[in-house]
Symmetry: C2
Subunit: 457 residues, 2 copies
């Protein structure tokens, strides 16, 4: 429960309409895209950096922790509030402050939705490569906190590669500016990149300098359909080994093809073992030659059907199916646990084989979804949270999958952070000494553990 005094102070800082402490509002911001939830005492929506500074200083003075939040689309419990904390929701700081096409730079506020940013950039003939599947809802501040990827990141890299500079409010209420409009290295220690992916545990980002790119002149979207998921994963390894770098190499297995088809009616082949969405971009003159090479590789891996999207509508249908797939599994089972591990590209076929085996061994419904070119994949474990025995098997599978990724030379997280869900798994990946380094960095920035406490470690 929040005291009247604290509530009044919060209202004085951000204005009455930007503070919510009633049960319904507080619980609306107490869960995220995982199955976890918590209880905060209030949710506040700062709309300026100055308000953020005041919030941080005031809440520090009364010993109340702060949990930053964008759209809550993260998949590792990174925005789950602990008891007696205040959720600082940046989703009302949505301004595009500048689009500088001469220098390929945009300056934005953290609450701006990724999709809204893309729409605006499009007017200038530009785009921002990182495109999480949730991009219609997810905020850029959230993307930075998690170092998000997306389908396009195979060719273009992840959020980290596009952040040029930041304005950050530190846990002591001081503001720092890191980086800026320059493309070379940042002098001194790389403050920008220590903050990207830190899940709001080191500082709150209030302004972002992003690198933007001119839209490529041409692109081609292909759909490859397979009877066996192993053939699809072999195609991925072969394309990468051939030195071809598509923008996108997305994989969905039979389970997800069916749930996505239920949700969209996009015309996906319900009886297929797996499909790949392959997209390339670049100069018009290159397109046909690359399509030919890719078609040849697919054929060698026993592709059942290979189609090139001929119209914008066809491309959009394919992407719609891909983008709704996570939500669509609710039609099949009431709960899901989305895994997010990465393996070296060459290990991708082995990892897929293992998931197929795990599905049988644990008697669980597991859909396979993957940013396959990167070796980043998302087994979607479907279950019913009310079934205790099943829940236990889900947890066992989560651990099994992380262990497998590490054994293949991979990592326990690809693009959805550590948050609460993976705190134990990160300790399997890093030595005690490395974990100690994390703790030292945390203490250097936030000695009183005021910012998003209990996350990452």
């Amino acid at each position: 429960m929040i005291s009247h005094n604290v509530l009044d102070q919060l209202k004085a800082i951000v204005g009455e309409k930007n503070v919510f402490a009633d049960t319904i509002s507080v619980s609306s911001y107490s869960y995220d895209a995982t199955m976890l939830s918590g209880t905060a005492m209030a949710t506040v929506f700062p709309v300026t950096t100055e308000q953020t500074v005041h919030l941080v200083k005031y809440l520090d003075s009364v010993n109340i922790p702060l949990v930053p939040r964008g759209a809550g689309t993260n998949l590792s419990g990174g925005t789950i509030p602990m008891e007696n904390s205040v959720v600082v929701n940046f989703s009302r700081m949505t301004k595009i402050l500048e689009i500088d096409t001469e220098n390929f730079v945009a300056v934005v506020e953290p609450g701006l939705v990724n999709f809204d940013f893309q729409v605006e950039l499009e007017k200038y003939g530009f785009y921002y490569p990182p495109d999480p599947a949730s991009y219609k809802a997810t905020t850029l501040g959230g993307n930075l906190g998690e170092c998000s990827g997306g389908p396009r990141c195979f060719k273009y890299g992840v959020t980290r590669d596009y952040v040029l500079g930041l304005e950050v409010v530190l846990p002591d209420g001081q503001i720092i500016q890191t980086g800026g409009r320059n493309f070379r290295s940042e002098p001194g220690f790389d403050l920008t990149r220590i903050l990207v992916g830190s899940e709001g545990t080191l500082g709150f980002i209030t302004k972002i300098f992003l690198r933007i790119l001119p839209k490529p002149a041409a692109k081609k979207t292909m759909l490859a359909i397979y009877n066996e998921v192993e053939d699809a994963s072999q195609t991925v390894a072969d394309i990468v080994a051939a030195g071809i770098v598509p923008t996108t190499l997305e994989m969905m297995d039979n389970i997800l093809i069916n749930t996505a088809e239920d949700a969209t009616g996009a015309g996906l082949p319900r009886d297929a073992g797996a499909l790949l969405i392959i997209e390339i971009d670049g100069h018009e003159v290159d397109m046909d030659a690359q399509v030919e090479i890719i078609a040849e590789i697919c054929k060698k891996a026993r592709v059942r059907e290979f189609k090139i999207a001929r119209t914008v509508a066809e491309v959009d249908q394919l992407w719609l199916a891909r983008r709704v797939v996570i939500g669509s599994v609710a039609r099949r089972r009431p709960s899901y646990s989305l895994q997010d591990v990465t393996v070296p590209r060459s290990m991708f076929p082995s990892a897929v084989k293992e998931i197929v085996k795990v599905r049988k061994d644990y008697n669980l419904d597991i859909g396979i979804l993957a940013h396959a070119g990167d070796g980043n994949f998302h087994p979607l474990v479907l279950f019913d949270q009310r079934n205790k025995d099943e829940v236990e098997r889900v947890h066992a599978v989560e651990k099994h999958i992380c262990t497998m990724a590490l054994a293949l030379g991979g990592t326990v997280s690809g693009e959805h952070g550590i948050g609460l869900l993976k705190k134990h798994f990160i300790e399997m990946e890093f030595s005690a000494t490395a974990m100690e380094s994390f703790k030292k960095i945390k203490s250097a920035f936030d000695p009183n553990h005021r910012f998003n406490p209990g996350k990452i470690m």
Copy 2:
């Protein structure tokens, strides 16, 4: 002076042939590519991670600071030893541990010379994009310490963008492994990138996981010759604004054209105001169209002559001239001070104009050399260190150039770190609060200031 006891211990750790404490040897490793020098008590060459750990632990126990060193080609005094320190020279750890063409990853030791690495990769049809001008001498560990760039970095990004993981010996002698073979984000705080560019002040790198790329199918090298340096800089801005991303956009002015020509006889036009070396790479089919657009842009900016290198020998001659240019100025004046600032790309013509003006205002010989596409440039201030009045003007110009870069929205360092030379300038760029964050990070990793003390801040 080093005590017999310490000397014996060092020899016991790395072997007799890997320790030098005589005056000549010590002074050989007491200076770098700047005009600065210091005095260490010994230079040791560890050849394994284990030896590095033992060195760190032993020197900590006797309270002796350690200064890491590769080839000493840095340009900011980052490897200058302070009195009573030991130089830890990694240039005998030169192994290529693995070239993994399936995953586009190489694993190397820090003392490996950039050029030797490129030669080996070439055998596999691969290359490593960051290519400092000093790449024939410079070590990969040194490149990481400085987050080096190079001519190719306009298109391909700097060292930071190619480091996937590290093995690091921390100041307390513990080893950590960061990242690895995966291309997505690194879970937890980004330890890899906080170490890249930290100039050996946070940890010593003993193993490096690097991203490598297949060699592009085609490239074209062009030479554009101008009467006026301003026309060359305008060309750079116009190419970038046209959305063309050459691999390389290098600029040299009349002074440097002449010193480079003295050194190489490459056939550079001695009477030209400036030249641009422009290189593009990609698919064969794209080359001609791009050359045409670039030729057109050069023409609009009053290019005097536009040539395409027709043979490998012609390309090599051009690059030789570019690569020797810094050393070549010794023929003109006995001393030089190489500046390294970056401005937003669109500000590049303004910055060049200002340098031309500064040359007159301070009555100094200043050559202009630039990785122009990035806005990263290297005014080379030529002087005689014995002339006190001139030296004072040089220092005034150094400050003037940094102030100008910051006023144009740039940064005081592009790719050669902070070291000793830029400690005062970094304080002009960052707020006291940001500098405080640097100090907190340093203290978190190295509370006793044992690793390369006195550098960066």
